[in-house]
Amino acid sequence: MIRYAIKRLLSILPTMLIVATLVFILVRLVPGGPFDQDRAVPVEVLKQLNAKYHLSDPVWKQYLDWLWALFSRGDLGPTIKYPNRTVNEIIGLSLPVSMELGSLAMLFALSIGIPLGILGATRQNTAVDTAAMATAMIGVSVPRFVLAPVLILAFSLKLYIFPVARWETWRHMILPVICAGLPMAAYIARLTRAGMLEVIRSDFVRTARAKGLSERQVIWKHALRGGLLPVVSFLGPGFSGLLVGSLVVEKIFNIPGMGRYLVEAAQNREYNLLVGVTLVYAFILLIANTIVDIAYAFLDPRVELR
């Protein structure tokens, strides 16, 4: 078990290295550079700028220098568009915000999605089930860029309950968390329902029922653990998806998170920032998956970790 965990954690390192290398090279293959702007700049000035950021070196040298800085000092390099911030600083400022938003949204999604899914499964093909699944369907189908303006319009501009944007107090967090979490909640509800339905039909549940256990005991003690397995396996990609996918929410509510850097850094040819942010996401995804796999073993006695 511990050996497995260590093995998994060790395998993260090479994976990240591959990701970093790929992004490092790919982003430099795209035409255009970080200093391109609509107004022409004298060639000599461009040369100075390129030299300052070592962009005139051959790519292999840039790569080795970058690797060395990363491994010796944990330094992801300078940024170009924000000359008085480093990549480390930017990630340090924005990652906690994204984590906060992502975790809250995940919590929200779980606390809505799982009960809804259980409700649907235990009352399969009743009006309750249909209502629960219809709600879930809406949640999955309505994109966040539609959901967000509607929420803002209703709760901020008409009812004056919540602020329209920004990330300050808990009141500022409610709408973005709902907005980021709702589609996720809907998806989780559907996963839970499907997982529960499958378990409820299985032999050990039938046995439990035959033993004369109450329905409540059957569901909570026996079915739930197995029924939630699909949800658990979804948590890893789901969480990192929330971090990346909250780009829209971050934009509409102007939340200073990390989601926007993925797109922006690519657009601005902000080489170091793009590689840095990609690495962080890769790391989160890999760690989340590892944790999920381990959690799986606890939940499902049939799974054995090697």
Binding site: V41, A134, M137, V142, P149, A165
Partner: protein, 774 residues
């Protein structure tokens, strides 16, 4: 909505669809419903403090360093933090006294002397001196600063050459080695401190030459050849002139690792790109031609540079005679014997209160230039302390920055919020009614509009573009302002490629575009259709000239041949040999090759391109294809000349026609059109040198007419800037360019009921300048 017959009867899907359409309807209704409110959103100010102003920067400033900033988000902040020699009037941005209270200038507009106020102070209490300006200007132009805004200061004497690292000073007395150009003075002495212009650096360290490079023998033809030729080893016979046998290029391999003497060299070209030059070399008694690239690097660390003595140095004398035209002193020298020396720049602090500038040429817009961030002073001790630490960009953080404007930085939350407070030592601090400014950094217009609507902004910010779809609604609101803005939207044509190589075709394409329709139906922000490139409302006398010409009926940019005229366009096409044939519903011009319109991925640009495509098809039968590219990719293709027609535009750097016409000069790096006209270049130069402002503007109009006749760019419209300002903000007047200065604004919490719109205070004006005398 799609017909329901073919839909599967799945209820959840239908429910979702219904919800979606309801949601969209709600959003649209919410945005466009006229709730009877004459204002857009809240009319009562949620914030109580009338000395704090809430606005928006529309994004993280790239630099708060005035010498390096090149984007508008930065300028919006720097304009509040620093103050230049002159500042701008809040009504129409004309220059008013800033740190300088008065100035003198020479009759030819080339020399300026500024007198600085003695109560101007930095935010740490130290006085602002002329030396701060001298340091700031020289720093911007220093090549190592690598400022992307430095081009604006190229007007300073020797500014451009110095900034490009081409103007250096000799470190000790030496003798030039003779250069290859005919007529060069061999063995000319150069004293220590002489300024030289670096014409070229040897492509390789040509110190394999054992002796000084000799002058080109008379009659030698020096030729360029491509790198490919060098690889192939194409022999080419070269004549050494009368009496000498023809020489064959020396085969590279036979002379491998040989030490040769370079006798002469062809014109310099960058060895790392495509081409190189021939070198005439000698080994023992053998002579031959070698490609320069073949010569290896030497162990010697210094390169050989070809220099020319630069006679024009600042004199700060209005009556100084121009340097004598004589034989140019030219030759080779070691690069190591050259040093950078900013004394060649035409700026100097005479004493703490007197700052002098010598310009390269007469610069009619110079007073406008000194209101811009790139000319603002910075504190040498603060900047250099950080440079020494190796963090040259960190001095602008709140804990370190020292400013001389009305405000100083108190907090900077990266990509979130910037707070400024009053500079306690600002000379005019008693007049300020806003003591604190909170700038939220809202990039997307959705949250910006929402925050404004909720009353959290007093002003939505100079750089927030209001979306076209909101314009019809907003136009009915009392807090909406729409004003002309010094920018032009144009298409740049590549005149190297047919059919665009024919000026008649270019003019036809221009005449076939209904620009009025484009601004009314597509951009919808009140933009003005354009028949030329300098906006009619440009300052410093241009707009007066336009008005006068229009009143007299002599406006050269309206009327036949200027306005939308499909018939004339067709006849021009016919003249050019692309006869449009009438077909039902339009025209066909089969012989005209299709033209590609390239634009950066953006809905607005696409809509315009589609309209143009349709107009050309309908009016001329010309087929246009559309291609969109991400902005940086587009820039690359544009700079490489890889386009037919590319979407572009120009935002004025200063309030003067020169900023627009500069981009058409044959020497301009902005001119990627392939079009160049010496007559136009000369006309612009002459207009700039004309001392009488009225005459000068007339000359600019004439020059502009030459550019328009070439039609290397099709102008579409002059911009407007529409914005939202809460009724409780007073002292706000829309301006044609740049950023609003918060120091002139004030808050009247009950302002919705008060009509008045006075400035917090009215700035003084410059007295008419005296005459510069040494």
């Amino acid at each position: 909505m799609s017909p329901s017959g073919s839909e599967p009867p799945a209820r959840p899907i239908r429910a979702a669809r219904a919800a979606l359409s309801a949601a969209v309807a709600l959003v649209v209704a919410g945005c466009n419903a006229d709730d009877g409110n004459p204002y857009f959103g809240s009319t009562t100010r949620p914030a109580k403090d009338v000395a704090t102003f809430y606005s928006n920067t529309s994004g993280e400033p790239e630099y708060l360093d005035p010498g390096k900033a090149a984007d508008t988000a930065s300028a919006a902040l720097i304009d509040q933090l620093f103050e230049g020699l002159a500042s701008t009037h809040p009504g129409d941005t004309h220059p008013v006294p800033g740190v300088a209270t008065s100035f003198e200038r020479s009759a030819d507009n080339r020399l300026y002397r500024f007198h600085l106020r003695d109560d101007a102070k930095w935010s740490d209490g130290r006085p602002v001196t002329a030396g701060d300006f001298e340091y700031a200007w020289k720093r911007v132009l220093r090549p190592a600063t690598a400022s992307r805004a430095a081009t604006l200061l190229h007007v300073v004497e020797n500014g451009e050459l110095f900034n490009r690292g081409l103007l250096r000073v000799v470190t000790h007395d030496l003798t030039l080695r003779a250069g290859p150009s005919p007529g060069a003075a061999a063995g000319a002495p150069l004293p220590k401190g002489a300024a030289v212009e670096v014409l070229s650096v040897s492509p390789r360290r040509v110190t394999t030459a054992v002796a000084p490079i000799a002058a080109v023998p008379p009659g030698v033809r020096v030729v360029n050849f491509s790198k490919a030729d060098a690889k192939k080893g194409t022999p080419e016979q070269l004549s050494l002139g009368a009496g000498l046998p023809p020489l064959v290029a020396a085969p590279g391999n036979a002379w491998k690792d040989a030490e040769v003497e370079v006798l002469a060299a062809g014109p310099e070209v960058d060895c790392d790109t495509v081409a190189d030059r021939w070198l005439l070399v000698q080994r023992g008694a053998e002579r031959g031609y070698l490609p320069g690239c073949v010569l290896g690097k030497s162990k010697d660390k210094t390169s050989l540079v070809l220099v020319e003595r630069h006679e024009q140095v600042p004199t700060f004398r209005a009556d100084a005679p121009p340097p004598a035209e004589g034989a140019k002193v030219r030759g080779f020298m070691a690069e190591a014997d050259l040093a950078e020396d900013d004394r060649v720049l035409g700026v100097r602090a005479v004493d703490d209160r007197t700052f002098e500038v010598e310009l390269e040429h007469a610069t009619p817009y110079f007073l406008d230039l000194i209101t811009q961030p790139v000319t603002f002073p910075v504190r040498r001790d603060v900047v250099e302390a950080f440079e020494k630490r190796g963090d040259p960009d960190l001095w602008t953080r709140p804990e370190s920055i020292v400013t001389n404007g009305p405000y100083t930085l108190s907090e900077h939350k990266f990509r979130y919020e910037i707070t400024m407070v009053q500079n306690p030592h600002y000379w005019n601090r008693d007049k300020l009614r806003i003591h604190r400014i909170v700038w939220m950094e809202i990039e997307d217009y959705h949250p910006a509009m929402n925050l404004y609507k909720a009353g959290e902004f007093d002003y939505i910010g100079d750089n927030t573009a209001l979306p076209a779809e909101y314009q019809p609604l907003l136009r009915t609101k009392k807090d909406y302002r729409n004003n002309v803005f010094l920018s032009v939207y144009w298409y740049t044509l590549n005149t190297r490629k047919p059919p665009l190589d024919d000026a008649r075709v270019r003019r036809a394409l221009n005449l076939a575009i209904d620009k009025k329709l484009i601004v009314e139906k597509i951009t919808r922000g009140g933009q003005m259709p354009a028949t030329h490139v300098v906006p009619d409302f440009t300052g410093l006398g241009y707009s007066d000239e336009v008005k006068a010409q229009k009143a007299a009926g002599t406006d050269i940019f309206s009327g036949p041949g200027m306005d939308y005229d499909p018939a004339l366009a067709r006849s021009l096409m016919k003249e050019a040999g692309y006869d449009p044939v009438e077909i039902p519903g339009g025209y066909r011009a089969d012989r005209c090759p299709p033209i590609e319109i390239l634009y950066n991925t953006n809905e607005g640009h696409r809509n315009i391109a589609v309209a143009v495509q349709d107009m050309w098809k309908r009016n001329l039968g010309v087929t246009a294809t559309l291609r969109n590219e991400e902005f940086k990719v587009l820039l690359k293709n544009y700079r490489d000349g890889n386009f037919n027609i590319v979407r572009g535009g120009w935002q004025a750097e200063f309030n003067h026609p020169q900023t627009f016409l500069n981009t058409f000069l044959s020497s301009s790096p902005e001119n990627q059109t392939g079009w160049a006209d010496p007559a136009f270049d000369a006309a612009v130069k002459e207009a700039a040198a004309t001392a009488d402002p009225k005459e000068s503007m007339r000359a600019y109009r004439k020059a502009e007419a030459l550019a328009m006749a070439g039609m290397a760019r099709i102008p579409f419209y002059f911009y407007t800037r529409s914005t939202l300002i809460k009724p409780w903000v007073k002292g706000f007047v829309p301006i044609p360019r740049g950023q609003h200065l918060i120091q002139y604004l004030w808050i009247d919490p009950d302002g919705v009921h008060h009509e008045g719109n006075d400035f917090a205070y009215v700035p003084t004006e410059f007295a008419p300048p005296g005459v510069y005398a040494p």
